[in-house]
Amino acid sequence: MADRKALQAEMISGQTPPSPGHGMQRDLEVCKLVDTTTCIGCKACEVACAEWNDLPFSLTTFDNTYQTMPETRWNFWNLIKFNEHQNPDGTIQWLMRKDQCMHCADPGCLAACPADGAIVKYANGIVDFNQENCIGCEFCVSGCPFNIPRFNPATKRVYKCTLCSDRVGEGLEPACIKACPTGCLKFGTKDDMKFIAEERAKQLRNNFGWQNAGVYDPQSVGGTHVIYVLHDATDPERYGNLPSNPQIPWSYTVWKWLFKPVLGTFALFGLLGVLLHHVTHGPRLPQPEPPKKEEANG
């Protein structure tokens, strides 16, 4: 970011300062927008993800849907979930949702992770795993409300979508965005994507009869850096177990940041306690103790 700021025009000859645009800053936070209403299930994003991230492919399982496999894997981070939803009037909705890491503002995986430097959240909102520091305890799997981190038993490390942090760092959009043929995937700043998503939801409500259309950006995890436009935002579960109220377990927040160090310190006070006991009260000796000096003399 600094390099781009350095190239901003500060003074321009023949113009009165401040020069136009000086001091302008782009929003740091990035966001991926997935419009489920325009996804056609072509899976180009799945291919692009596996290609760019050089993920070795493995055999899939057929589960009577159009899905590539039942759920994401350590070597398959981007999966279109196909769900058939029956409306109360008997009509069928065929829902397609791109399932991947949501890049939460309050990442449950990061809160749960005990390894030093294994999970990083960047200022632009991307949550990334550094496998070289991962110890393979799988606590992140338990911390994640979206069931995303995947353990690779061969390497004993956990993997997931990086939001193509390597591409984004170079000013490129993630691979899935580049591959999407319908424009259902968009990438930009969080503010812009939120704006576009809200506009699209308004359009769906006003012009297409989806009264409950809305944006999925759950605030229970501080918002996410992957947001959805849904036909019915009141029932995200119908899109293949997208939680309506994702939660990070209490044990990974309060316990980890408060009680762990505090109680650990208390345990160390036990050590201090026994040493103090020895200093103040001394040992208990087998009886009879040798007579004290005065007694022996007297």
Partner: protein
Amino acid sequence: MASGAVERFDGKARETFEHVGKTTVYRGELLRHPVYTRVLHWSVALFFFLALFTGFGIYLPWLFRWFTPFFGGGQLSRILHPYFGTGFVFFFALQALNWFEPMIWTAADSRWMRKIKEIASGEEKMDPPDTGFFNAGQKLQFWEIVGGSVVFIITGIILWAGARTFGRITVAISYVLHDISALIMLGGIFIHIYLSTIGEPGTFQAMIRGAVSDAWAWTFHPAWYKQVTGRDPQQACDEARRQMNSGRNP
């Protein structure tokens, strides 16, 4: 019937280990712990500390990450920790069978607990006369480890298998219980090591050589002393004091 099988197993194990090692009891000493008990104790201790030190790096990496290189790094610590823990629980389970009977809580132990302040402060030079082979503090720690081991094994299997098998909330709860159990044992181990070494001198040899001095026995476990020697502990102590005084003041 089941308890009979346990008795036979323990008896056989004790007998077998008497061929493996030996216990020398000198004059003025009593046999405290046979070879089998000592081997179990140090096996438990070894696995306890291996599991503790591999666990430290996982518990608070920002404070204890320097422990993990001893075990080949974070990944290997994580892989080894459950095996060390299993070893700890396995050997402690054998010790629990071995010690089940002398560890049963009695009315004398409740009385001991009520006087714990006087005993710990050293006001009471000798333990209460009805203190048997184990005192109430030792029994308390024993049963805490029994309970803690049950917590360890249940939550440990859940954490070992992971959230994909047992669900994320189960893992999140298990991890807290696993930590609490470890913290209680950590606090307990300080007291245990202190009392068995510098806190009550003469104790450590019970787990090394297996024998303790008569004076140690009548001071800290008077009822046990009476049971094995048939002598009254207070009288024995007074007699020793008279001998000591007459020896010093001719």
